[in-house]
Structure formats: C-alpha cells, structure tokens
C-alpha cells in the first residue's frame, strides 16, 4: 500500500478587488475550522506538519492556502505590468474572501509573521467573523524588513531571500526543518518576498489602535520565538499589553518560523491554546 499524507489539495476561485484568483489550498481533519496563513514570500507548505498532526486534525479542519502570487496560486493576469506591493486592505480582503468563498463559519485564524500581523488586523476589522486569532511572531509594528536587495540585478533574489531569513531561526531547531524553510523561500517569485514585507514592515501599523480589538469577541493569542530578531518576544509582549485581554508567550528555543522550523517544539505551545479555544470560544 502506498503511504499517503492525510493532506488533500485543490483549487478554488476567489474574487479579490474585482479580480478572479485561482487559489490553492490544502486541508486535513474535521471539526472546527482553523485557517493557516504562511509567512512573507513563502507558501502553505510551511503548515504540512500541523496538517499531519492527528491530535489537531481529530478536532479541527485545518486549512492552509497559498496567497495569490505564492506557491501554487498563480498571480492574476497582468502581474508583469505592476510592482507587487501587498497592502493591508488587499491582504485582509484576500483572506476574508477565501473564508467566505469556502463558507467557513467563524474560523480560528493562525498566522505567522506577516500572517500573524494580518491576524491582528482581522481581529480588529472582522472580529465578528473570526472566532479567535493566533498570531505567531507578531507585534504592533515591525521595523526595517522592507528592503530592495532581493530585486537587485546583481543579486540572486531566490537565494538571497532564503539566506536572509535563515538566520531568523533558532540554532536548536533541527537542521532538516531549517533547510526546508530555506528551500521554500528559495522558490518565491521575484519581488514577492519584498512586496510582502511592504505590508509587514511599511503599510501595517497597529500602534495606538490596539484597543480597537475586542478580545471578548475575538480572543487574541500571541506566541513568539525567543530567537526571532525581526519581531522579538518583548515587542510581542508590548503589543499584548496594549490589547486588554490578549495573551502572549515567549517560545523557548524557537525562531521566526515555529510551525516549519521545529513543529514538535511548537506544538507544545500551540496545543494548549487550541484546547483553550475549544473550551472557551463559541462559534
């Protein structure tokens, strides 16, 4: 008998800002809906370990999708005539349209890095449609990540983006996990990592607006790896402190890509959060 992962993948058409996008997603499990958002310049493969975790998928329908321009979600026609710069509005709309198109009722949203940042934005603007958010490596503002190096003509952007982000991981994380993060990063489209960091580090700024998130409607959980130097645990903690009711924790021996660089370690932090949501959060 062949050995299969429990993951299935397919495409769905999602209209964003009047443009039809063919969006790829993977899913596994049954139960409450958990929508997973990948990091800048990467794709849903980062969640393959979570999608194969029977302890999670026994209670949750886990869904991870590739944002347009990422992974197997091709960019919409005409992409070659526009500089790719992801904005907060388009990113939030893309996720909410995906959720509505699939008919997911009040899912929990789990996002990492830029996905963690937009999870907070969803809690702020769409809290009634989202049961809870889990933001990994997120804070109110991330400085200094929007750079042009990866699009310079004398720089190999694929290797550069992969190597630039490699050092965000913890030295304790397994070599194979870190190399897999590198591999996925090396496959991003030209300018896409940079364009994503436009959202993450330029366009999005929650400072002074943290109290606009109603954590009684949409609980907020923030988890950050102690080796993340792009978004430090202290910055995450400060964001949580500014959001009444938000919870935060520092993840020991983990860096910027918890679910991909060291899933066994990450799940020690994730599973208690999912259990708490199961027990306390209503659909």
């Amino acid at each position: 008998m062949p050995e299969f992962d429990p993951i299935t993948g397919r495409y769905v058409y999602v209209e964003v800002s009047g443009v039809r996008n063919r969006v790829y997603f993977e899913e596994a499990g049954q139960g409450r809906h958990l929508v997973c958002l990948h990091t800048a310049g990467a794709d849903s493969r980062q969640y393959r370990h979570l999608l194969c975790d029977a302890e999670v998928t026994g209670k949750w329908r886990v869904i991870a999708f590739d944002l347009p321009y990422h992974g197997r979600s091709l960019p919409p026609e005409g992409w070659w005539e526009e500089e790719y710069l992801l904005t907060t509005d388009v990113y939030a709309e893309s996720i909410m349209r995906f959720i509505r198109t699939l008919g997911l009722e009040r899912p929990v949203v789990l996002g990492c890095s830029m996905g963690g940042a937009i999870a907070l934005e969803l809690a702020r603007k769409h809290g009634s449609e989202v049961a809870a958010v889990i933001g990994l490596e997120a804070a109110s503002k991330i400085e200094g990540r929007f750079l042009d190096w990866s699009i310079m003509p004398d720089v190999d952007g694929s290797v550069m983006a992969a190597s630039w982000t490699y050092g965000l991981m913890a030295p304790q994380s397994p070599e194979a996990g870190k190399r897999e993060v590198w591999w996925v990063y090396s496959q991003g489209g030209p300018g896409i990592y940079r364009g994503d960091t436009y959202f993450y580090s330029v366009d999005w700024d929650l400072r002074g607006r943290e109290t606009e998130i109603d954590t009684s409607t949409c609980p907020v959980y923030l988890l950050t790896g102690e080796y993340d130097y792009a978004c430090t645990p202290d910055e995450t903690s400060a964001a949580a402190d500014a959001m009444p009711g938000a919870r935060s924790a520092k993840m020991e021996s983990i860096g910027h890509f918890p679910m991909a660089e060291n899933y066994p370690r990450f799940r020690e932090y994730l599973l208690p959060v999912l259990r708490e949501i199961e027990e306390t959060s209503v659909l």
């Binding site: 004398d154 720089v155 550069m160 630039w164 490699y166 030295p171």
Partner: protein, 140 residues
C-alpha cells in the same frame, strides 16, 4: 583538532583551523565556487583580513596595513564574537544579521552589496565557525 586544543578566537591558529574546516566542508564545495571576496573581522582592537577565493580561505592577514583594502568589515567587540562563536549562541547572537540588527556594538560595514551577494556562502562559513569547538580531529 580537539576542542581542548582549539586556539582561541581571534588568535591566528583559530583562523587556520577555520581555513581547514571550510576546505573540508562538503556544502562549501557545492555553494562556494563563486564566493570570492576579502573580509575584515574586527574584534575590539584586533583586525584580521580573510581572503576567500572560490569558497576557500586563501589568506589570513592579521592587522592588515594601509596598503591593503577589502570589501566588507564585520565589526564587534571580542565579547560579541565569543558569544556568537558557539554552537548554540543566545538570542540575537546566533546570526550576523541578527547581531547587526539587535547588538549595538556589532555592525556589517563596507560594501553591503558584496555581503548580500555572498550571504549564502558566508552564512555557511560562519556556521562552520560556530561549530568548530565541537569538531573532531578530522572535521568530519
């Protein structure tokens, strides 16, 4: 070379050990072919120039004089480097870019375009350096 006899950074013997370890590294043999640059490592008052050619350390020049130039300078205190040069450094000391971002006394200077173009191979060189004190005699 065993860990007990490992010369201490930034003594010349330490750079010789690094040269051997980089030359023996299987990954550098794959990714290093186009890695050619001159790199100054500044540790407090000491400067050591590393010449890399084709992914190998071809020269080590302690305290280069006014007649010598190079592309990139990695500048930190001796304590910065000793904190970085271990298999499991503490947060913010595990990577050159991390230190440049979060350790005020450490900086990546010079032609940063050269640094970025060689980031993949340089990352490997310094990860080898971090592992050196656990290397066996054959660097296997």
């Amino acid at each position: 070379m065993t860990s007990s006899s490992m010369p201490i950074f930034p003594e010349p013997g330490w750079f010789e050990a690094l040269r051997e370890a980089v030359a023996d590294d299987a990954e550098m043999a794959v990714i290093g072919r186009w890695c050619t640059l001159d790199l100054a490592i500044v540790a407090g008052e000491k400067t050591v120039l590393l010449r890399l050619e084709g992914g190998r350390i071809s020269g080590v020049v302690p305290e280069p004089d006014i007649g010598v130039s190079w592309h990139v300078t990695l500048r930190g205190t001796r304590e910065d480097w000793l904190t970085f040069l271990q298999p499991v450094p503490p947060p913010f000391y595990s990577d050159l870019l991390a230190m440049n971002s979060r350790v005020p006394s450490f900086s990546i200077e010079g032609d940063r375009g050269v640094f970025v173009r060689h980031l993949h191979a340089l990352g490997r060189v310094f990860r080898i350096a971090q592992q050196m004190n656990s290397y066996s005699g054959s660097h296997a």
